[in-house]
Subunit: 206 residues, 4 copies
């Protein structure tokens, strides 16, 4: 049993890895199932045992990869030396900066995620972990809100606006340095985010 299970897991992740490789280099629509199975060392038909079609594997990849991104950021935040004393605002910015840095270092991933991300997929990704290691960012976010000394008005909309702003802005700045490079953009971006948070900040909790 164990053997078979392991073998299956192995094939599936082999397909996922290969697909990611191709999607980020050739692009989704120019990647064929043949490309994937060929490099994964698996027969064509086998692909369809694990994924419904090309769209299915793409969605699973997006979920998995964005989840990883957040997991890494949250882990690093929590192991930061001054984590305990950081304010809500600082924590959010820490996470954002961490993710932005990850993306700047992995532009293929940025391209892949950005071209295929929508808030809907994103929310799913951060809410329903695919593998055991994937985290549920929604929970983390709420925990952060609970720890904050202030109430927040419409925290979900706030998060939404931040995510849209960051993802759009970074895409262009990182990949095309247009209208400016990432380092130039950061102050503007982070300043804007701080203000967005403050705007949604409500009264102090009693």
């Amino acid at each position: 049993m164990g053997k078979l299970e392991v073998n299956k897991r192995h094939k599936e992740s082999s397909l996922l890895n290969t697909a990611f490789e191709f999607f980020t280099t050739k692009g989704f629509s120019k990647t064929s199932i043949s490309d994937i199975v060929g490099n994964a060392g698996v027969a064509k038909g086998t692909f369809y045992l694990y994924f419904k079609d090309k769209y299915d594997i793409r969605n699973k990849l997006i979920c998995h990869k964005s989840s990883q991104l957040f997991r890494t950021a949250v882990q690093e935040l929590e192991s930061a030396p001054d984590f305990q004393t950081m304010s809500f605002e600082d924590r959010i910015l820490y996470i954002i900066d961490n993710i932005v840095t990850q993306l700047a270092e992995n532009q293929a991933l940025l391209t892949f995620i950005a071209k295929n991300l929508s808030w809907g997929v994103f929310k799913t990704a951060l809410t329903t972990p695919v593998t055991e290691e994937d985290i549920n960012f929604a929970d983390v976010y709420h925990a952060m809100l609970d720890e904050a000394p202030y109430e927040f008005k419409d925290p979900e909309i706030m998060l939404f606006l931040i995510v849209e702003l960051v993802s759009g802005a970074c895409y262009s700045a990182i990949l095309y340095k247009d209208p400016c490079d990432l380092e130039t953009l950061k102050p503007h971006l982070y300043e804007t985010i701080r203000m967005m948070i403050r705007t949604h900040q409500g009264p102090e909790k009693h």
Copy 2:
């Protein structure tokens, strides 16, 4: 009939119109050249006399359509009764609201533009008019800045951030009402934009 007549004289615009129709209904990759030429009443080969390939016609459409969007917004702004007395901030928001409204009323257009827009294409679109009627929004924007009583720091970055925020946020709110519908989003969005503008506001001009 008129249609045929017009086709004869303006095959190019007939192709553009038909392509737009298909791109917004079936999507770009599921639209074939056959679809386009068939409905445009033109032969296959003729397509290639006007456009290099499928990507070419798409890009031209994006440019043209986004330009139209801005032209309409600017025109309506300028014919607003209180135009003269509106502040820079109000004018920007007027334009944004106008465009958002146009997109909410034309979701096919929204889908088409959003899926294919990047800051690069966008800047091109607003800088290099395709047809004679197309405006150069960059010029308009600079004129607005000139008329403002304040200096602005990095006005291009400011515009960039605004555009990214608005386009991302509206896409989700209009098409999926997620995380909230457009009307619910607007106050948050516009408030954020006002703050972004103020943040970039410099000293009064002398």
Copy 3:
């Protein structure tokens, strides 16, 4: 539940039933082994323990189903109140009418049998029973001939001609009401059959 229980005990008949269901609804070539085993609640490999391949299960079904058709007809004939006094001709027509009625009420079966029947398969079906209940129609036919007061010339050819005529004619009349519906056809058909029998009728037995 009963179904699962029964499946466990009679996987073969479960496969036969499911296959029949699919063959008569989707057609033979569009039915896959997956369809069959999936709905029969059996593993893929198990199929091949009972049948050589797809053709094998089809042939077994045809044999079984046509045998059933004749068995029912013969049973009803024999339990008819006036069975003892019926002439050979009447008995043959009784059987034919009974079968035609069964087929008219079960058009899926008609389609299935007609599309896949040939005289060869048919003869096998009526000669070599598959299950214990299946009858050997050849024996029944010869018994009927023996009881008749006349000799018959080439009775096998006669039967052959009748079967070909009936099967072809009914297929079209029942399924497509073309060139006429079944009830309109019957008088012509039965009259023709009576004449065919008389033509093959020889001298009275001594």
Copy 4:
């Protein structure tokens, strides 16, 4: 123009001929489009310029081939030395015998037609000629009826019964010599047909 037209006709008939060759040797379902285009010396895509799909080319072939069969039979009938003096019955039997002979000499054609013929397709085939040479057998049949000295009751049903009888019976006799070979069958078959005609014969025309 002429040149192009001729070229097109050429390709189409090349495809038809090749398809017929494969359908009659390998069978319909085992013949692939690749087989056809490969041997026709045409590109895959070209196939779809002339036929909707495999079923389309099959139907066109059936129509054409059965029409040819009848055309040949009717032509030979009309050039028979005693044509003028032949009775209606004799003429029908002449045509049948001619067709049966053609099929006995071309068993591939017999297999192809028999496996794919239904009264519906058949009627279409004999009513709506595909090429200019194809005849309309319905017209011929009615002309023959008109010339006969007798009225006929339900002549269409009569023809239907004859066709079903002949096609079923010959298929088995020619291809499998089962239950007897063609020559043995003929007397029975033709005798039956004569009787069927007489049964449908009405009063003499005045």
